[in-house]
């Protein structure tokens, strides 16, 4: 029998059905990442697992115990499952060390001294022993999440559930949490991670589960899932998260909206600050210099392909829909151009013009 078996799990709120007969098995020691579009039941699945949500029907069998049966002593089972939340949920009225000590003393009934020792071990593991006597309000988001992980680990759980552990973090803080999770994965602890973090899915997990339409749509080894997903929706999802696109009439251009959406994408893809500023500058210069809003029918497509880490970022600007496409291509393609915007764009990467498209391979720049 598997460690965790989820059978035909269903959950709906009104006319939204996040879980529609989902099946999944997890073996001891597995590190599973659950990916998928927003609103497809990933978090609901995780919350059903430790019964923060009550499923409408189906079975969750954890180590031979059916959690959906009436009379299941759910609070006892929860001590065997740690959970890390998107919003950290540290107890704000307690110091860091108390956050880790109190549940041990209240629930595992260990002595204060033992709880303290365990808390120290866990805090050192996540590198935050120096903050032991601080209050959560004085910690950064990344630090809070690491404390939350330490708090969960101190309870010695058999499985850790991570519910989008990095989604609420500034991009600069994501790495610290990711490396803690990555280290944890190597200890052999069973982990189930819901994430939008593709690095995590790719590098840490032993199995990637793509959830869509309320079921496990496709699952497999990370290499397979990212290189050659079999089903169409999976392919779309994997593809979309690697590429940003703006497609619309020139008259609709709202430069701030474009830059904001580009920024969000860059953060999600872990472009470093320089790369991200370069992208922004290229798009901003092009749009402000080379588009004319009075030509209402002009059409523009801008794409950014983030690629794999270490591979170049590529911006593609499709000028075929623009009325003075030829001029623009000439100006930007000219090495000795006088146009300042064109000069700036050229300084960020070598533009190659092909079939009316400007393709810019952004220069690699090291993170500061």
């Amino acid at each position: 029998m598997s460690f965790i078996e989820i059978k035909n799990l269903k959950k709906s709120y009104g006319n939204v059905t996040p879980l529609n007969g989902l099946n999944l098995t997890v073996e001891k020691g597995e590190v599973i990442t659950i990916i998928g579009p927003s609103g497809t039941g990933k978090s609901t699945l995780l919350r059903c697992l430790n019964r923060l949500e009550t499923p409408d029907s189906g079975e969750i069998i954890f180590d031979g115990i059916n959690l959906c049966e009436e009379g299941a002593e759910i609070h006892k089972i929860r001590t065997r499952m740690g959970m890390v939340f998107q919003s950290f949920n540290l107890f704000n009225h307690l110091s860091v060390i108390e956050n880790i000590m109190m549940p041990q003393m209240d629930i595992l009934k260990v002595s204060e001294e033992e709880a303290f020792k365990e808390a120290k071990v866990q805090l050192e593991k996540v590198g935050l022993w120096s903050k032991a006597f601080e209050y959560p309000e004085n910690l950064s988001g990344g630090q809070k999440q690491r404390v939350a992980i330490a708090r969960g680990l101190a309870m010695k759980p058999e499985v850790m559930l991570f519910d989008e552990p990095t989604s609420a973090l500034d991009p600069t803080m994501v790495s610290e949490v990711l490396s803690v999770i990555a280290n944890l994965a190597e200890t052999g602890l069973t982990m189930i991670i819901v994430t939008h973090e593709m690095r995590l899915a790719k590098d840490v997990s032993s199995r990637v589960v793509y959830v869509d339409e309320g079921v496990v749509y496709e699952e497999g080894l990370p290499e397979v899932m990212f290189k050659a997903p079999k089903r169409e929706k999976t392919r779309d999802f994997i593809f979309r998260i690697k590429e940003w696109q703006w497609d619309g009439n020139v008259s609709e251009i709202d430069i701030y909206e474009i830059l904001a959406s580009l920024e969000q994408f860059c953060k999600g893809q872990f472009l470093n600050k320089n790369e991200y500023l370069n992208c922004i500058q290229v798009v901003e210069e092009f749009v402000s210099e080379f588009t004319d809003k009075t030509n209402a029918k002009d059409h523009l497509i801008i794409k950014l392909a983030a690629g794999e880490e270490g591979e170049p970022r590529i911006i593609t600007i499709d000028t075929n829909g623009l009325s003075d496409s030829e001029n623009i291509l000439k100006t930007i393609g000219d090495e000795k151009t006088d146009n300042i915007s064109a000069k700036i764009i050229r300084s960020k990467g070598e533009p190659v013009i092909k079939d009316g498209r400007i393709v810019i391979k952004l220069k690699e720049s090291l993170s500061n």
Partner: protein
């Protein structure tokens, strides 16, 4: 804590400053807020007693040359369209309307307030029975009596309709005889205070005990004298009759408006307190007449507002001030009324505060059970207690819910304010709990806490930060709200001040003293709460204990 003390001291100093400022103002004669001594030798009451113009009462004077006893108005005609001060519960307004066209009325709870309003010019005439009207106009140079009576009437003891006790007392009255009663009338309306003694109840009381609702703020008929004990013509008559019947009397002092409801609800056997017999009262009560009492008008004297020569200047002001102080605090040990009142206020505030807090948290606990019926009951309770004025709630509790139960008024007050404070506690704590992030509960549950344990260990401590200052504020409101307990016959700080005012007819000292007492009480209690909270607050304590382990590592 030192800072706290400093702050309190500085606040008290501020109040003292305001207090002094008010005294200086009153001395300089800007607000005419009392300080008028009894009339000087110009009026010799002893003499006037003989030349009575009304059958039993003493007439003011026939020497019209003295401005202090000449009324501002000499006929009913001149009073047309004027404003009359009426005691709430007294049937004088109809009567005045009968004689005087276009009369307007203002209603007050004590005759002292009416006289103050009269002197301040807010009303133009006050109505009362001959005894009170004469007594007051004789002792205050700003007031004078209009000799023409409004109507001839009788004082009566009020019994519930059909109560057979009434017959018994009527018979006793006949047996004691008119002359005996007349003797008492002369004593209590006379100027010789040494004769004004209430007999001790030294008879065996074989025929049981009666409970009497007794007016307590109308000198010389029925008022609180030495140490706040009830005395006056009415109690004297009653005790004479009681002695004759060999029953003991338990007095319960209260305002006029409370007398009849008190009897009607069965809290007392009958009521006495210069109640005049009229058709309205006879409709609901049986009344046994015990003395005649004509209705007369008190108006301002021609001397009103003018200062006596001797009272001008700084020295005069000082002596007036001293006399006023003596009257307010020293005479008849009146300060005891204030200290007892303060004690009553403290008891009500502290006990209803503590019990209210407990009650509120019980409600919070019950609401967490998510039972539809319980939640419905709580919501109704909340709507009623929050939606009604505190005074109405107290009156309903006292006269309706505990109407037939023998229960001390102060306990009813504690119960009433406990309920009100409890419901406030409940709604404040409830919203504070809602304000704590939902994730806190989820995190606690995910760690293996049960709902109840998570609530007490995780949610409540965080909610406390939100509800504690709010509750502290509500507690201050509670202390202030207790000032209405006089409605149900409790003598608290406010009512004690009122009683003293009803004797001295002066506003300044009683009101300022009451204000200062409240201020200090509120400051002290809220400081105490903060202090206790700091002592038990967990943050510092825990961290200190944990430092120990840190050093070991």
């Amino acid at each position: 804590m030192k800072n706290q003390m400093k702050r309190i001291v500085s606040r008290v100093l501020l109040v003292a400053f305001v207090f002094t400022f008010a005294i200086v103002l009153s001395l300089s004669g800007l607000p005419n807020s009392g300080g008028d001594g009894p009339k000087s030798a110009a009026v010799n009451q002893g003499e006037k007693t003989e030349s009575a113009s009304v059958k039993y009462a003493m007439a003011a004077s026939d020497s019209k040359t003295d401005d202090t006893i000449t009324p501002e108005y000499s006929s009913f005609k001149e009073l047309q369209g004027k404003n009359f001060g009426i005691l709430t519960g007294a049937p004088f307004d109809e009567l005045v309307s009968k004689h005087i066209k276009g009369a307007k009325f203002s209603y007050y709870d004590s005759f002292a307030d009416i006289l103050l309003a009269l002197k301040a010019g807010k009303i133009d005439a006050a109505v009362n029975n001959s005894a009170v009207a004469l007594y007051q106009s004789n002792t205050d140079e700003d007031l004078a009596l209009m000799e023409v009576p409004l109507q001839e009437m009788y004082f009566g003891i009020a019994f519930n309709k059909g109560d057979k006790e009434a017959e018994k007392w009527k018979k006793a009255l006949d047996e004691v005889g008119e002359e005996e009663i007349e003797k008492l009338w002369k004593i209590w309306l006379g100027t010789d205070d040494s004769k004004k003694k209430i007999p001790k109840q030294d008879w065996p009381g074989k025929n049981g005990t009666v409970k009497v609702a007794q007016l307590d703020n109308l000198e010389p008929m029925s008022y609180r004298g030495d140490n706040g004990e009830l005395q006056g013509f009415d109690p004297a008559v009653l005790l004479t009759l009681a002695k004759h019947l060999d029953v003991k009397v338990e007095f319960e002092g209260m305002e006029l408006s409370a007398l009849l409801p008190y009897v009607a609800s069965g809290k007392a056997d009958f009521a006495m307190g210069s109640m005049l017999i009229n058709a309205d009262r006879l409709e609901t009560m049986d009344m046994v007449p015990y003395h005649s009492g004509n209705l007369q008008l008190v108006v301002r004297s021609k001397a009103a507002g003018k200062k006596m020569e001797s009272e001008k200047g700084f020295k005069g002001a000082i002596s007036k001030f001293k006399a006023s102080f003596k009257r307010t605090f020293i005479k008849d040990n009146r300060y005891k009324l204030l200290t007892n009142g303060l004690l009553a206020t403290c008891i009500i505030a502290v006990f209803s505060g503590i019990f209210g807090l407990i009650f509120g948290f019980i409600l919070v606990y019950l609401a967490r059970l998510n039972n539809v019926i319980i939640n419905g009951i709580i919501r109704v309770l909340e709507e009623i207690l929050v939606g009604l004025p505190a005074a109405v709630i107290l009156l309903v509790l006292y006269y309706v819910i505990f109407g037939r139960v023998t229960i001390s008024a102060i306990i009813v007050a504690v119960i009433g304010f406990m309920l009100m404070f409890g419901v406030k506690t409940y709604s404040v704590v409830k919203s504070a709990i809602l304000a704590v992030d939902k994730g806190q509960m989820e995190a606690a549950l995910s760690l293996g806490y049960t709902e109840t344990k998570a609530f007490t260990k995780i949610i409540l401590p965080q909610a406390k930060k939100i509800f504690f200052p709010l509750l502290k504020g509500q507690f201050v409101v509670l202390i202030k709200d207790t000032s209405i307990v006089g409605f149900i016959t409790v003598i608290d700080l406010t009512r004690a001040g009122d009683l003293i005012r009803s004797r001295t007819m002066e506003a300044f000292f009683p009101l300022i003293t009451v204000a200062v007492f409240y201020f200090i009480l509120i400051k002290l209690l809220s400081w105490l709460i903060t202090f206790i909270d700091k002592k038990i607050s967990a943050r510092v304590k825990h961290n200190k204990r944990l430092e120990k382990y840190k050093e070991e590592c």
